[in-house]
Amino acid sequence: MSALAAPSLATVAGAGGHAPQRPMDEARFESFYRASASGLWSYLHRLTGDPAAADDLLQKTFIRFIRATPGFASEEHMRRYAYRAATSVAMDHFRETKRRREVAEVEEQVAPSDSADLRHDMSRVFAELKPRERALLWLAHVEESDHEEIAEALGLRPRSIRVLLFRARKRLGELLTRRGMAPEGTR
């Protein structure tokens, strides 16, 4: 997968890039952080499969976010930029560590809980997907982003998202079938 360059605001202009920018101050940042940090952490965690890496990458994402510009036009513009930055730092992380195959092992180190077995199985399945497939599925199903937003977050063309998402879903479906976790009742 090609690495993403650091996102520029021009690439996330769809959500109000032409509207006047409001300055980013500490209060505005804190408000945005409270609303988005948890979701971004989950996204980074599911991409990397490593809670410690997600902690680290979340900080990098927000520091990149603050340093990017003195202002954003809207909350949606901020959200899109943050997801693009998060994807970019996650891909940098993959390039640096080259440990995509170790994700399942990292998951095993997580402290057990009541749902440890289920979580373990689900994490293993998800870790078998490629990072871009994980990002596509997470953004489409959990963040409920449309194709344009997904394309912005991943630095891809919107036209290619439909095919890529279809392949990612199909691959996940195959993995679930192989492990006997596939849903029933669609037929």
Binding site: Q59, I63, A111, V125, H141, L165, F166
Partner: protein, 159 residues
């Protein structure tokens, strides 16, 4: 065609809640995108509900401060860039000066060094006899001074 199928949200909800209507079943049978979405949706929904976070999120005030510090460092780095370039250029110029002088006047300098004794230094200082041209002496003095100055600057800047 880059848009979602308009039925996709309904299909996903039906798959998650396992509540299918005949119309949706028929649609899924004929729409590959929705069939794939239906296969992935229950897993993704359940997976998203698992909260794996063990530590609290970092304080936004700390992140804000960190970003400001990094921004300040970046500004300082940008401001220092011309000075660093000037320093590198001066290293190159002085090294080239020494190389040029030694190449150009190597024989003359070699002979001067070989003849160098305390008595000859005294004689030359008194102006009785000069074994080297004033231009070379001046060039050597200037290059020596510049080398010492640059060395001191590098040491003091580092400290």
């Amino acid at each position: 065609m880059s848009e979602n199928c308009i039925q996709e949200p309904l299909v996903r909800r039906a798959a998650v809640e396992d509540r299918w209507t005949d119309a949706l079943r028929q649609h899924v049978a004929s729409c590959q995108d929705c069939a794939a979405a239906a296969a992935a949706a229950p897993f993704m929904t359940q997976f998203a509900r698992i909260d794996a976070r063990q530590r609290a999120l970092p304080d936004p005030a700390v992140l804000w401060l960190k970003a400001q510090i990094l921004r300040g460092s970046a500004v300082a780095e940008r401001a220092a860039r011309p000075l660093n370039i000037a320093q590198m250029v001066s290293y190159v110029v002085i090294a080239a000066g020494w190389a040029g002088l030694l190449t150009w006047k190597w024989n003359e300098l070699q002979q001067w060094v070989l003849r160098l004794t305390p008595a000859s230094i005294v004689n030359e200082a008194a102006g009785a006899h000069s074994s080297m041209s004033a231009t070379i002496v001046l060039a050597v003095l200037v290059l020596c001074s510049l080398t010492v100055l640059l060395g001191l600057h590098a040491i003091l800047a580092e400290e």
